[in-house]
């Protein structure tokens, strides 16, 4: 119950953050990636804003034995830089550059009631299902 409330609250704050930072405007993201055209560095400032909070809070949280409402921190222990990471990130980057959406802004972008964010969310989910069909069939 408590963890569900935190999930909702955390989602709401994230959604306000994406809207306020204008990252739900895909052209703004494309302008960031358009270094030879109308370059707009705003996305870097979003990351600076997020990291200036999270670098400090994560550093502090690493000293805690456990989260407040659950038994353990579920952080990735994977430190290997392998082919799936780099190839996956490159595929992601190509899709990101084609659309101007990554998963967060696609979901939050539904709040603008545009057809394209619906197409985007469905297509992202199709990508998940394709991955699971290909690689996780026998799990």
């Amino acid at each position: 119950m408590k963890t569900n409330f935190i999930a909702l609250l955390s989602g709401i704050i994230f959604g306000v953050g994406l809207a306020w930072s204008r990252m739900i405007n895909p052209n703004k993201v494309l302008d960031f990636l358009d270094v030879t055209g109308h370059f707009d560095p705003s996305l870097i400032f979003v990351m600076v804003g997020a990291l200036s909070v999270a670098l400090i809070s994560f550093k502090w949280m690493r000293t805690l034995p456990a989260p407040l409402f659950s038994d353990r921190f579920q952080l990735s222990q994977n430190t290997v830089i392998d082919k799936p990471l780099v190839i996956g990130a490159a595929i992601f980057g190509i899709g990101w550059g084609m659309t101007g959406y990554c998963p967060g802004p696609a979901v939050a972008g539904l709040s603008l009631f545009s057809v394209e964010s619906v197409v985007m969310v469905l297509a992202i989910c199709a990508g998940f299902f394709a991955y699971n069909l290909l690689f996780e069939k026998h799990k």
């Binding site: 963890t3 569900n4 935190i6 909702l8 989602g11 709401i12 994230f14 959604g15 306000v16 953050g17 809207a19 306020w20 494309l30 055209g37 707009d40 560095p41 705003s42 400032f45 600076v48 804003g49 997020a50 990291l51 200036s52 909070v53 999270a54 809070s57 994560f58 989260p67 407040l68 579920q74 799936p84 990471l85 190839i87 996956g88 990130a89 490159a90 595929i91 992601f92 980057g93 899709g95 990101w96 550059g97 659309t99 959406y101 998963p103 967060g104 939050a108 972008g109 709040s111 009631f113 394209e116 197409v119 985007m120 469905l122 297509a123 992202i124 199709a126 990508g127 998940f128 699971n132």
Partner: protein, 143 residues
Amino acid sequence: MENFTPFSALAGGALIGISATLLLLFNGRIAGISGILNGLFFAVKNDRLWRLLFLLGLFLGALLFAIVAPDFNTPRQHYPLPLLAIGGFLVGFGAKLANGCISGHGVCGLANLSIRSLVATCTFMGAGMLTVYLVRHVLELAA
């Protein structure tokens, strides 16, 4: 640089950092949207409700913002749907393969000082920049 909006970017970014902090501090979970969304379909049964609530919150938060500031963000018009459909598929597939997206690697992973996430984030941006160059300036598929 006529569209550069550093102050709203910093403010919105700080909220994203606060959100990631809350989810990790209380629930022990990483605020990585692709992982949360993927788990909605593929996680074990009792690990799904919080994901739905987080994603609902993501939508509601942006909706709330749109109600308070109606003209702040407007939907893009006439972007080619095939680009969105194919690009969206690649975003989903690539995020699964790389085990994270901009929020998971670019915010949470970097905040956790993960070199793996730094490599992922730089690759996202490099591939994205190259793609935008091709789409906008070489193939001229979109403005």
